[in-house]
């Protein structure tokens, strides 16, 4: 199982995938916002989404797991 982690600390403003989605490497899965900047977080590998931990409005720290992919 591979995990997609937050690339910076910030607020989750959009979750672009659901459990069961097939995603490709490089696809945007979550959008974070911090300090007036919106930053998409991309999956590094392709696979099937098995868990979405990020919810819109959550504050996450850099390195926190957002999505798990199988």
């Amino acid at each position: 199982m591979k995990q997609v982690a937050a690339n910076m600390a910030g607020t989750v403003i959009n979750v672009l995938v659901q459990v069961g989605d097939e995603i490709s490497a490089g696809q945007d899965v979550v959008v974070l916002e911090s300090m007036k900047m919106e930053v998409p977080v991309q999956a590094e590998v392709a696979g099937k989404v098995v868990e979405v931990k990020a919810n819109i409005g959550d504050f996450v720290n850099e390195g926190d797991i957002l999505v798990s992919v199988e």
């Binding site: 910076m8 600390a9 910030g10 007036k36 900047m37 504050f59």
Partner: protein, 448 residues
């Protein structure tokens, strides 16, 4: 003017408080819940809480700010930069409430805030503008047709955009067609105005701006230029003046064009005319910032003038106290912006500063907004401090800048200090001929 409310936060609020104190003008800070322990709140004579952390509920909350001014009896409002500083409606509302707005007339803010209107006014005044569309491009076909006329690459821009937001480089018609709808949608969402236009994209451009000051008697002076080409994500990281790229003749033409621009709109207060300068030193009007600029200390340290003091005097209805001939580059000045961000990816790094120790050195000025134990929150801009260094020569200023930034200790959050050091040590920077592509080109070829 007896009491100024500062509708801003962080380092710029402190900066304004400093001049107000020296001129015996009382100050009122406004603050959100996130900022209640910040130095600027303590340093103002009075402080009024205006709301929760997100800016729409606090620093952009016009009613709360006006109410704070009335309750404290402030007779003037200084908007700082960003936030409400270039909001025509806010400036007008302040005046309607019988309070002095420290800045130009609301109409001028509106005219310059609309990039298409600004282009038109400047063209009529004889200020060169980047070749591009005269009118709003309401369909993608209109945009493609104008772009074909002026030639690719072009910059597709939102008329209401600015500060690096709402623009995209298009290399060909396919990329223009792809960018048009999404950029227009974002312009509508961010600015409530989806007017679009295209400009010729200038390759390897220099971003050089001219500080101006105008009073209520029609006098407009320039306070020389600032070289601002070191940018990441279209935002400035290091500014210096005089620009190492300009020769005396181009400098004079550029500064005179800025004066022309100021006179064309009857500018009152301090403002900045931004230009794009190409490799052959042709320059074009880009936009006008109708406010105090983040990098104003570069001009202050170079010329010995106090720009906030000039703002207060102009707002008080006084004529500008100096003549053009008295404005001189006395020193070379460099400003380094310290951001709470990753030094490689430039992504924001909010968190708590555990140790904060700026350098204390001669010829080094620190304008900052934080201290040890300050929580740098994700709600606001990542800039936490500015280091302004002067020298008799550019070389001396660079050497002092390296020494200063090496002695700036910040722990607990990531900062761009390692990146600033790399820029200052880079041969291409030291040679002085660098463009807005510098950061990208350096990332692609770091071995220098």
């Amino acid at each position: 003017m007896l009491k100024v409310l500062i509708a801003n936060r962080g380092e710029i609020a402190r900066r304004i408080i400093r001049t107000c104190k020296s001129e015996k003008v009382a100050t009122v800070a406004v603050y959100s819940d996130a900022d209640k322990n910040m130095p600027f709140v303590r340093e103002a004579d009075e402080a009024v809480h205006i709301g929760p952390p997100p800016v729409p509920h606090s620093y952009l909350n016009v009613d709360a700010i006006i109410d704070a001014a009335k309750r404290t009896g402030a007779d003037a409002i200084h908007p700082g930069y960003g936030l409400l500083s270039e909001n025509e409606g806010f400036a007008r509302r302040v005046q309607e409430e019988g309070i002095i707005f420290i800045g130009p007339a609301p109409e001028v803010i509106g005219q310059m805030g609309d990039k298409l209107t600004a282009r038109r006014i400047m063209q009529q005044a004889g200020v060169p503008v980047v070749p591009g569309s005269e009118n709003s491009l309401d369909t993608v076909d209109d945009a493609a047709s104008v772009a074909a006329d002026i030639g690719y690459p072009v910059m597709l821009k939102a008329s209401a955009g600015g500060g690096g937001i709402g623009m995209q480089i298009c290399q060909d018609e396919a990329s223009l067609r792809q960018a048009y709808q999404s950029l227009r949608g974002r312009a509508k969402a961010y600015f409530g105005n989806d007017s679009m236009f295209v400009e010729k994209y200038v390759e390897r451009p220099h971003h050089i701006e001219v500080q101006i000051a105008g009073d209520q008697y029609g006098n407009v002076l320039h306070l020389l230029e600032r070289e601002c080409s070191i940018q990441r994500r279209h935002q400035k990281v290091l500014e210096e003046s005089p620009s190492p790229f300009l020769d005396e003749k181009t400098r004079e033409l550029l500064c005179q064009s800025a004066v022309l621009a100021g006179k064309a709109v009857g500018y009152t207060g301090v403002g900045t005319v931004e230009f794009i300068v190409d490799e052959n030193k042709n320059f074009y009007f880009l936009e006008m910032n109708t406010r105090l600029q983040v990098e104003h200390p570069v001009t202050e340290e170079m010329t010995g003038l106090d720009l906030v003091s000039m703002q207060l005097a102009i707002a008080n209805g006084l004529p500008i106290a100096i003549d053009q001939g008295e404005v001189k580059a006395l020193r070379h000045a460099i400003e380094l912006r310290v951001y709470a961000e990753d030094p490689v990816t430039f992504l924001p790094s909010p968190g708590t500063i555990t140790l904060y120790q700026p350098p204390v050195m001669e010829h080094v000025r620190i304008d900052d907004g934080v201290e040890s134990n300050t929580q740098v929150t994700p709600f606001y801009d990542p800039m936490i401090a500015k280091v302004i260094i002067t020298g008799t020569t550019r070389e001396e200023a660079i050497e002092r800048a390296i020494h200063a930034i090496q002695n700036f200790q910040i722990t607990g959050i990531k900062t761009n200090i390692p990146f600033l050091l790399e820029v200052l040590s880079d041969e291409r920077f030291r040679e002085g001929n660098y463009t807005t592509w510098f950061v990208q080109e350096r990332a692609a070829n770091p071995k220098k």
